[in-house]
Subunit: 135 residues, 4 copies
């Protein structure tokens, strides 16, 4: 299993008139969390895309337990529970400064060869890095 933590503060823009972080904003937080998780392994999502493989989201499941608020430091823990192949699955937990679990989510993304527009296996350099975590 691979795990990584990212900390971010909700922007004013991301709150709503209820005073909560808007439920649709978490998709951005998960994006930041998985990109930073990959970066921590030495992988650049941008570079992978520039090299011809993109990674659109296939599904997302989010459970909102408690609201997040403006400017508090949120910790997003990202888990990759299994070795990627044509897909890569991320799991996320969002916690506030009191370590309360606010949100749980999963996303599945599909590797797409930009030249063909079709699903493809994860790039070898990515797989090589991941293998160590799932030995």
């Amino acid at each position: 299993m691979f795990t990584h933590q990212t900390i971010l503060r909700p922007r004013y823009a991301e709150t709503d008139r209820m005073g909560y972080v808007y439920y649709g904003v978490y998709a951005q937080y998960f994006e930041v969390a998985r990109v930073e998780a990959l970066r921590s392994m030495g992988l650049s999502y941008k570079q992978m895309e520039d090299d011809g493989v993109m990674l659109p989201v296939r599904d997302m499941h989010v459970t909102y337990h408690k609201p997040a608020f403006y400017d508090e430091a949120l910790t997003i823990t990202t888990y990759i529970d299994s070795l990627p192949n044509v897909r890569i699955a991320f799991r996320y937990e969002v916690r506030n400064e009191e370590n309360e679990l606010l949100t749980e989510a999963t996303t599945t993304l599909v590797f797409i060869d930009k030249s063909t527009g079709r699903p493809c296996r994860a790039p070898q350099p990515l797989l090589d890095l991941f293998v160590a975590y799932f030995a």
Copy 2:
């Protein structure tokens, strides 16, 4: 069963460098779709909130089949499959101008009494309007 259709066009702001509507934007589309669905029944979500009941999202599940693109007319069909009680569940289908199914989703929202911060039953005027659809 209650069903309603809303049409909207993705904004340039909502696209990403892949040329797709960003996966996190759909949460906004579902918000628009359910608010317009309620409005079509004569219900104002804003008025309900001003009257002391708010309706945060408890969970969201989205499956992305195909991408949506800038400025195409998307039809969002909203379904309410069962009578609301403490929760209300919405189901959504997003289709493009060729009637291709792009996205399927569900969201569950919880009625919260703003004065207590606790879950409550759906307001009676809302229930009265819904009963006709589930007789």
Copy 3:
């Protein structure tokens, strides 16, 4: 002079914890307003871009007089005060249902030839349509 009106309702996502429409959201409203203004003349911004001319924003000036609120019908009046050449300037006024002037803004956009990445004259079909308004 060319003028056009677009009506839109602020989304919950677009409000902030102050209960106002977030100041950065107006850029999206101006985008919608100018695209709909062009559409009303028979011009598709998307088509123009697909035909090889893009139109990035060069500057934006916004004055916020009063806040806009969730779900109220906002009327955005868009003005084009002079014939486009390498640039096109839009002016906007946002009013609420009581016809109060909430926001005034201008944006200048530059026609860019996608094949060269350099500024270019406005496409002839666009100029032909505009000439009638500035005779």
Copy 4:
């Protein structure tokens, strides 16, 4: 004069189909920049708002010289050129990793007493901290 630097990376969500950071997103970047500038002085914008003074934006002027791209490290330099009174003016410069000037902007914000809804002087603790920079 007071100056502060914040670094952030554009999110995928913030790019558009042109491959650029969307022009409306910068308002969020300026928000982050000024909140972090105040934090660096020991001031919490959130605390000030919780203490009864809010700070809506009165005007914004942005000039877009060059585009910003996905995931590059942007440096936002924030300047406060004069002592705040009923208003506070921020000036911003956005630069990329090659130190190219991408965007210049100013925003003016107004201190509002939440209990009256009317403009008020900047809170004394904020003024006390600023005085040192404008002696």
